[in-house]
Symmetry: C2
Subunit: 248 residues, 2 copies
DNA sequence: CGGGCCATTGACTTAGGTCAATCTGCGTGG
DNA sequence: CCACGCAGATTGACCTAAGTCAATGGCCCG
């Protein structure tokens, strides 16, 4: 269990101050946000929001990983989004959402009461501008994901997933866009969650991990850690165009 | 071939005036938009934009249907969006897009030069607000599509596709949300395009049309027209939750 | 009448799902 | 400290939905 960091009420000390929905806000707008915000924490596995339930808050992810998922009548489920720090939860202008939101790891949210937040969108331009950028970024990611779900093989899906984790951890560590060397990766989900993310079964996820290991592309340290032995072969295995801006 | 409607330069007469990116603009903002807009038309099958090419314009679809698609190294392709009248093309703040845009039917676009449009986003709140709404709507649609691509069977995919067409044509005809009776549907794409939309092969699309016909759920008038015989059985065949807000 | 272009249908293959057995590591309680 | 149990992961055997390859059919247009 993580030792939950304590968050100061002051936005100026916030780790996502310059990337979240408030990124473009000036001092006065920040002061307004400050009055309607509150922090909430969730343990790994907790439900954050249920589909269809009235939405009292919108929120930014401050730390941890949350996931969005949809379910068919007979219980098949598909993850339709992975929310990382600075990502936004909620749908200003609508009072329900159409998917479940779950804490994948322990999560801290910065919540804003919905009504005053919507008023802020009307009154101050910078919130709407930033929210538009965040929505367009998520739309790009969703489209990459549609290509993966519709057309990639199981092997390509796993390779894409690991390549994404490699890029992200490299980005977080160095601020640099493209990793070039091998790396030790943290896999923040169970096989079952990965399967729901990639549109596979957990058995297929497990088998493809084994295949990539047998091919010498990765090594499995333990169930939550993987080392990439050959990043360029991993990237070839994703099936993407060489110059593909995927996850760029 | 359609008899192309003539569009008046005046926004006040525009068929998408109240739904497009300009929906919330006041008279003064409209005047600004009016100075940077121009109409362009494309024939069915024409490329509108290529992935990666520098983006001089952003645009709204005025009439017709356009599609967004992505392609893997070896040529497999997946449609990642279907643009109908009032939908928006482009990515303010970035000078390329990461997918191809193609005219599925004959298309009329209302194009805005990108730089002045971006300036407008900075200066006037209503454009950014509306663009945020449009992006969030597309994100909802993309998430429904991810569920379809990742988890639905071929039969469910075709049923969902036909149900979507039924809802749309009913909505366009009556302004009403949910169709209840059978209807004659226009299928605006070839089997191959449908396959790329649904993450299937064209043979599987054809076979599933035949199965739904054998089951008495639909009738095929010709290759571009279908009558829905039993809408409630069609909706059951989509696999969605009964109260599912899909395509709502 | 002939030649494309879609669409349909059939025969066969295969990637990935299903079901089931086994393994591994970890926290709990004796 | 060890034994137990449980949750997650792996692996194998088998099955099936959908893909592949190939032949045929209908339709429009010159």
């Amino acid at each position: 269990m993580m030792n939950p960091p304590l968050f100061d009420a002051a936005c100026s000390a916030c780790p996502i101050r310059h990337r979240a929905v408030c990124a473009r806000c000036d001092a006065e707008e920040m002061a307004q946000l400050e009055t309607i915000k509150s922090y909430r924490t969730f343990a790994a596995g907790d439900a954050i929001l249920w589909r269809g339930e009235p939405l009292a808050f919108v929120a930014s992810v401050v730390s941890g990983v949350a996931s969005l998922s949809k379910t068919l009548e007979d219980g098949r489920t598909q993850m339709v989004g992975l929310l990382l720090p600075s990502d936004f939860i909620g749908r200003p202008g609508r009072d329900t959402i159409d998917f479940d939101v779950t804490a994948t790891t322990d999560v801290v949210l910065c919540c804003f009461a919905r009504k005053p937040f919507e008023a802020l969108i009307e009154d101050t331009p910078h919130v709407a501008q930033r929210l538009m950028e965040l929505a367009l970024d998520e739309l790009d990611a969703a489209r990459d994901w549609m290509l993966l779900l519709g057309r990639k093989t199981a092997r390509e899906k796993i390779a894409t997933f690991l390549d994404m984790l490699a890029r992200r951890s490299h980005l977080a560590a160095t601020g640099d866009a493209a990793p070039t060397a091998s790396a030790l990766l943290d896999v923040p989900m169970t096989r079952d969650q990965i399967a729901n993310y990639l549109g596979l079964t957990l058995e297929t996820v497990s088998r493809q991990f084994s295949v990539l290991k047998r091919d010498g592309i990765i090594d499995q340290v333990d169930r939550r850690q993987v080392t990439v032995r050959d990043l360029s072969r991993l990237q070839q295995a994703t099936g993407d165009d060489a110059d593909g801006g995927v996850w760029s």
